[in-house]
Amino acid sequence: MTYETTNILVCGIGGQGVMTATEILSEAAIAEGHDVKKTEVAGMSQRGGVVTSHLRFGPKVLSPQIAPGTADVLLGFEAAEALRWAHYLKPGALALVNDARLVPPVVELGLFKYPDDPIGDMRARGVRTLAFDAATLARDLGDLRLGNTVMLGAIADQLPFSAEVLLECIVKRFTRKGESVVEMNRKAFAAGRAAAQSATPATA
């Protein structure tokens, strides 16, 4: 028997909140009654290394890993990391990318080159890519830490359930921090949704 699963790949670098974002997405899928598996390899990745988090949900999930070429949507917290993992997407699937550029020491030392236009490179590979500046959106709302919720807002309309289900899971997480924190996160979520809706999913 085969099962239909939804595969979401979230990528970024250690410390950006990739694992927490995927955890909240998992909670939303569980709230919708799905079986869920979420995996990443932690360890050295928390020291500024590459982090990918795989989320699979559906009636029953077997293998926790998403195979290359089978992701339904990619949520990229950093431009070059989104490019690095773009080949995990199904042909024609959508990438939502925070266009922040986080340059590692090996590049600063002049040993490697950071691509001039990673988003453009993704589009050149035929990946439908929505790019936006999550950090600026978060800063404009008053706190850089809201970037994570902006990212979740961006993916909210690409899920097989309503955006409100995801928003409820975010609200639940922040409830004990008080109404003002909840309100900030609602705004960040809305800003992320709006940013994704207004960006053009251009391919080259």
Binding site: M1, I13, K38, R47, G48, S63, P64, Q65, P105, E108
Partner: protein, 623 residues
Amino acid sequence: MAAVMPAPAASRLLMSGNEAVARAVWEAGTKVAAGYPGTPATEMLEMLSTYPDMYTEWSVNEKVSLEVAIGASMMGSRSFSAMKHVGMNVASDALMTLTLTGVEGGLVIAVADDIGLSSSQNEQDSRFWGRFAHVPMLEPADSQEAYDMARYAYELSEEYQVPAILRLTSRICHVKGLVTVGERIEHKAKGFTKNAERWVMVPGHAKRRIPLMLQREQELKRLSDQSPLNVLEPGSDRRVAFITSGPAYMHVRESFPDAPVLKLGLSYPWPLEKVAALAQMADTIVVVEEVEPILETELKAAGFAVHGKDILPRTGELAPEVVKPAVERLLRKEAAPAPEAAPALPPLFPRPPTLCASCPHMGIYYTLSQLKNLTIAGDIGCYTLGAGHPWNSLDSTICMGASMGVALGMDKGRGEADKNKKILAVIGDSTFMHMGMQGLLDITWNRGNVTVLLLDNNTVGMTGGQNTPANGRDIHGQGAPRIDFPKLVEALGVKKERIRVLDPYELPVLFKAVREETKIDEVSVIIANRPCVLTVDFKPFRPYVVEEDKCTGCGNCVEVGCPAIHVTRREKVVKPSGKEVELAFTRIDSVACTGCGLCVQPCAPDAIVHFEPVMPRIVVQPV
């Protein structure tokens, strides 16, 4: 972590394999749990420490953690010990005799294999321990099974008076799935029964336990054929049948949904009759196992014609995209293609793990990278990153504590070619207490000429900042006796005048200390003391900025290796000597900078100054 109210029974929770095991161990009424942090096993003990009504500890190493569990079991209590795969190498001395004494209270050892080496110095297949120690192995395939098998492991352990090994891999430990949890049962300690023939393993006693151990293994073999953990799923697609265990089962099922599969939950000893039954179901049998061809070899020896590592990789994780094409090629009778080195990633810069901004190790490695003629034995921890760019400072890393013995061996084994080399060892506080102390004693006793850098950052950094005797806090964060490193190393035989305690943020002091101590032909210990920046002990300082008009592009600050320093532009210039050099003008990301001041010290034009924030934008709220 503080004790919290555990979730009520029958709750369905999203849990990692580690969390699921912890829950089951607590529910089993376990009284004592011990472990040493190590990826991917760390969270088992971390979670257990939050449960009430039991004793948990970080032990100084895995061997001690297993010995603690053994003692508790002798008193008739249920006990638990958790470790990563290399930890079992350390603990195995205890295991190999424990299998003779057997257990009284249920004793479960969880060993987690870092398959694919996400954060380890090697890759090992812990299933060998079942064979080596003649003990049963349980292999879950997801979080729910990790929970179920951990609970069952206690019954198995007590019924057969045997330590049971729960074998996990990264894809169990760090995969979250839904788990239905139960209630904690009370388990009463029977009390210790004096019995020297059982507990005192002198040759005469141990000899008599060996036949009992072998008899127990035969009984476990019979159990394996009856165990519901070994499931024969007949299936309708009879082109090929599979024998598999652990996460590999999921990859098989995903790839061949209707094929016959023998899924081994109690994977050692394996069930002979069930294997024979499966062998009748298809002409082609494939053993799908991660890392070593253990089952494959044993099945072949038992006369079964099976495929395995002839078509599947011998190292790294399996996945549906690995298993499916390999088996399909076999069915089409095609030759396997040449193995591919790595998945097809676009040609992008690598992003290796780095030391954090303000990491005290950065001062050490910047200093070592500026000195010549050093040979440096390294060790296991965040500071292993000193082998990478820009420092390239470590010359070896073997295993926990090895820097000591390796450095001594380098000293004693050096020939003419290395006679002027300065030999150093670099080791962290927790690794030193894990297995480095004995090595240092060996250096002092045998009059070795080694300069030891003991990097005391008051924590086990790499695994997420666990408490250690170096910070004087126990697993719950409660005050505990704190080790005094200068006194300890002096007691191990280092002369008082050869022990220096310094601040790794003070580069000139550090530089001078290393220069002086390496010149002296005897063992010295330089203790560098600064807390890890990811722990509560670290208090950030005022961040810095680069004054753009003062920066001359010398690039000295880049050589420190701090992730908060970025190059804004590069420029090629020709020096008066005619030599062409590339200048690198920099900026500091003041959000990431925590003000350690390491980059300020080598800055030639004094262009790095404290960040003076402009007045924050005040948003006026309408009343």
